[in-house]
């Protein structure tokens, strides 16, 4: 049985032995790494070796190992030598070339034997004909554009020359632009006719659109040679505008604010019907300027009415104001109503309230309507015209009074007063109240002047007055006796009351009832009579014995008191007593003392008692001669003055 023998197989040592120790152990050199190997092999390249066969062909090179193959070592290196040879030769060749180049450059630098000359650059080939063609094409394209534009301009020019009468759109637009605010929104021209730039805060927009009335113009142009189309209004043959403005439907038509004052309740329903009146319907062919102005007016009236309605709802009066539809009703004075209505008609079938008869002209109050407009304009003005602060670093806005409130230590009441401002409706009501007060005062004075002829009543209204206050001076004189007696008084007519300042400095406040003024004037008339009689008596030498402005005797007067005076003749033998009552008129009594004829009786025995004064007898005044009271008095006094 054969046993297998273990044979150890070792790999041959490829590494070199560096050292053999004494105990026989071999120390190997570490095998070379790839890069070390490469470096080692590269070192073997012998650049110095210049073999003539290097300049020979490559196959010759391959023969070389045969010559060198002597030892095992050399044979081992033969292959790498062969491998590196091409590298070596290439490097060598390049070195040679570089050396040659360096030599050439050195020679060329000296410029003695060799000169470097620039080689003329090859010009890129030009194709002149193609270029000319391209240019020609571009030019012809541009020319055609210009020509077509010129053609279009020429046609439009001729077109314009043909119908010279139609105004140019752009000229019209320029005119429009001078008066109205316009802006371009994408392709459309939009204008604004609202009062916003003037300080309005009304929310409704006032936009209008401007378009070119092209088709319109052409049709009207075509139809203009025949006299006029039947449906058109008889207008002078005006060239139609090249511009067309389109205002929103709610601003079309005609609008106005109407102010009416009604005395009694019954008329209210009538007036309500009157308000929904129809104004002349909007003419579609009006010039844009008028059209825009009308639309602006509509907007203004709407803002005015809106504002008034808002205030009417907010204001708390003793009698609440009513806002019904497009009417505001406010009670001004007992029994007197102020009605402010917005009338808006036309505007593309938007007319309200159906057909109603037009309001009688002159019924409404132009003055109050005007002041309403004025009030809103003032509000607008105030919205934009804030006072500037001084010093300049102060805040914008507060008024001078507000600015002064701090340093002058204004109290809470004053500050609250500052915040108060009258609303437009309140001002309107005040103006209306004043209007009525003035009307009443005028009426009272006129009727008294008509009724009373004896003393003349002259009233002078001050020409300058405010919308809520006016002043009248009343003079009472007797014809022919102006120098002797003249009573005057001044009446300030306010909103709900009157103030009378008499000549003696007495001030009386009257209410809105006209009767009070009437009574006052009558009292003044009779006082005037008494006063002027006294003055007349003084002139005639009569003696003034007694005077009472408020006589406590006699029948009770329905208003005021009778006044009286007693005059004695220069001799003292005649006495005249005058009693002047507002209702009954003047009464004159005379007494003689002593009487010319004396008959002694049982009671009066002696004549001397007659000097005490006799009984008064009333003069039948209506039978007296004379033009007026003073004239009669003068005659009476003259006849009674005895010259004895």
């Amino acid at each position: 049985m054969a046993y297998s023998v273990n044979i150890s197989v070792e790999a041959p040592i490829e590494s070199q032995i560096q050292e053999i120790t004494y105990d026989g152990q071999e120390i190997y050199q570490a095998p070379l790494s790839m890069s070390e190997n490469l470096a080692k092999m590269a070192q073997k390249i012998d650049f110095a070796r210049v073999s003539p066969d290097t300049f020979k062909s490559e196959p010759m090179e391959t023969d070389k190992p045969d010559d060198d193959a002597q030892s095992k070592d050399s044979a081992a290196f033969q292959a790498p030598q062969c491998l590196w040879d091409s590298v070596r030769s290439k490097l060598r060749n390049s070195l040679t070339e570089l050396c040659v180049l360096q030599d050439v450059l050195t020679i060329a630098k000296e410029k003695r034997y060799m000169v470097l000359d620039p080689v003329p650059q090859e010009v890129p080939e030009q194709k002149p004909m193609a270029q000319i063609y391209a240019r020609k094409k571009a030019l012809s394209g541009a020319a055609s554009v210009l020509l077509s534009a010129a053609e279009r301009l020429r046609t439009s020019q001729t077109e314009m020359a043909r119908n010279r009468t139609t105004p140019d759109f752009h000229i019209e637009l320029l005119r429009l632009r001078q008066n109205w605010r316009l802006k371009k929104v994408s392709n459309a021209i939009i204008g604004d006719l609202s009062y916003r730039t003037a300080g309005s805060k009304f929310s409704q927009m006032g936009m209008f659109e401007v378009t070119k009335a092209e088709d319109d113009a052409s049709t009207s142009q075509a139809s203009s040679p025949p006299p006029s189309p039947g449906l058109g209004p008889p207008m002078p043959p005006k060239p139609p505008s090249a511009l067309r403005v389109t205002v929103p439907s709610e601003l079309q038509g005609v609008a106005y604010i109407m102010v009416l004052c009604r005395k009694d309740q019954e008329d209210l329903s009538v007036s309500a019907n009157l308000l929904g009146s129809s104004a002349p319907s909007a003419n579609p062919d009006v010039h844009w300027q008028q059209k825009l102005e009308a639309a602006q007016n509509v907007l203004f009236c709407k803002e005015l009415f809106n504002q008034l309605a808002k205030e009417a709802v907010q204001l708390q009066g003793p009698i609440p104001h009513m806002v019904v539809g497009n009417q505001i009703m406010a009670t001004v004075l007992p029994g007197i109503q102020l009605i402010i209505g917005l009338c808006h008609s036309g505007g593309g079938g938007e007319s309200k309230r159906g057909i109603a008869p037009p309001p009688p002209k002159g019924d409404h109050d132009h003055v109050l309507e005007h002041s309403l407009h004025q009030l809103l304009r003032e509000v607008h003005h105030k919205n934009t015209h804030h006072p500037f602060p001084h010093p300049s670093s102060g805040p914008l806005g507060p008024s001078k009074r507000r600015a002064l409130a701090g340093p002058t230590a204004a109290d809470r009441y004053q500050l609250l007063e500052m915040t108060k401002s009258k609303t437009m409706l309140e001002e309107m009501i005040e103006q209306t109240q004043h209007f009525f007060m003035r009307l009443r005062a005028e009426y009272v004075l006129d009727t008294i002047a008509k009724e009373v002829k004896d003393p003349l009543i002259v009233s002078h209204w001050n020409a300058l007055n405010s919308p809520t206050q006016s002043c009248v001076k009343i003079t009472i004189i007797t014809h022919g006796y102006e120098v002797i007696g003249k009573s005057s008084l001044i009446v300030h007519v306010g909103q709900k009351s009157m103030k009378c300042v008499c000549r003696d400095g007495k001030v009386m406040h009257l209410s809105y009832e006209p009767q009070e003024l009437r009574d006052l004037i009558f009292c003044q008339i009779h006082q005037h009579q008494i006063n002027s009689v006294q003055a007349l008596g003084r002139c005639m030498g009569w003696q003034h014995l007694a005077n009472s402005p408020h006589l406590g005797i006699g029948p009770v007067e329905p208003l005021g008191n009778a006044s009286s005076c007693i005059l004695a003749s220069p001799m003292g033998d005649r006495i005249i007593a005058i009693r002047c009552a507002p209702q009954a008129g003047p009464q004159v009594f005379i007494a003689h003392s002593p009487r010319k004829d004396f008959f002694s009786g049982q009671l009066v025995k002696e004549r001397k008692w007659e000097n005490l004064g006799g009984p008064f007898k009333e003069v039948r005044w209506d039978k007296m001669e004379g033009k007026n009271f003073l004239n009669k008095m003068e005659l009476l006094m003259a006849s009674l003055t005895s010259n004895s």
């Binding site: 500037f388 010093p391 300049s392 102060g394 914008l396």
Partner: protein, 222 residues
């Protein structure tokens, strides 16, 4: 009488007003300068842009004094007293201006807190008694414009002549100061954009910008 009712003091109402943010205590400001030669052109442009110039631009003639007082903080407290020389009946103005916040690029204007109060002529004495010291004073004369909430002033600064009549004051420089400002309550930053747009419209004539005083070579506010 009910004594239990708490008394509403002025301080209470002031805090309430501050809380509800109705006090305009922020000033939005843009500044610029224009040479004397060019001021006419600028005024012309402003007349075209601003509100209510039909009656001509509003002029002003102010005198400003700047007081400072040192408190506990190292930074002195600055108070300005201004009066209108051309409107003698108008109250004087005492004003505190806070630190200017320049912010970053996204913020269009300078924002600084500003508190002003009207007072009378004794305020100078009062401040002196408090311990304030007058740092400088000057006279401003120029024109004022308004555009909405914006106030535009074009003014020339004059040196205060010591003991000289106010007519013979000497101008500080050869240019006019242009300021565009709005006083607004806190947090109304939208106005800054409006101001920026307006400044843009004045652009070639005057460059209104956020001026940082600290970066200017000459220290001290105008």
């Amino acid at each position: 009488m009910d004594w239990g009712q708490p008394v509403n003091t002025a301080m209470d109402s002031l805090t309430a007003a501050l809380k509800s943010n109705i006090i305009p205590n922020q000033e939005y400001l843009l500044q610029g300068s224009v040479l004397d030669a060019a001021v006419e052109v600028l005024l012309h442009r402003l007349r075209g842009l601003c509100d209510n110039v039909d009656s001509g631009p509003e002029t002003f003639h102010d005198h400003e004094m700047c007081f400072s007082i040192r408190g506990t903080s190292p930074q002195p407290l600055l108070l300005r007293v201004r009066r209108a020389l051309d409107y003698q009946d108008m109250p004087w103005q005492l004003r505190y201006i806070g630190q200017s916040e320049l912010g970053d690029k996204s913020r269009p204007t300078i924002v600084r807190s500003s508190i002003d109060v009207g007072c009378n002529a004794t305020v100078v004495e009062f401040l002196t008694e408090l311990g304030c010291r007058m740092d400088f004073e000057y006279i401003l004369r120029g024109y004022m414009f308004r555009k909405g909430r914006m106030k535009i002033t074009v003014s020339k600064i004059f040196k205060m002549g010591q003991g000289k009549p106010p007519e013979s004051v000497e101008p500080m420089s050869q240019s006019y100061l242009v300021e565009l400002s709005v006083l607004a309550p806190n947090g109304q930053d939208a106005i800054g954009e409006d101001m920026k747009n307006f400044a843009e419209q004045l652009r070639p004539l005057v460059q209104l910008d956020k001026i940082d005083y600290k970066r200017l070579p000459v220290t001290g506010p105008p």
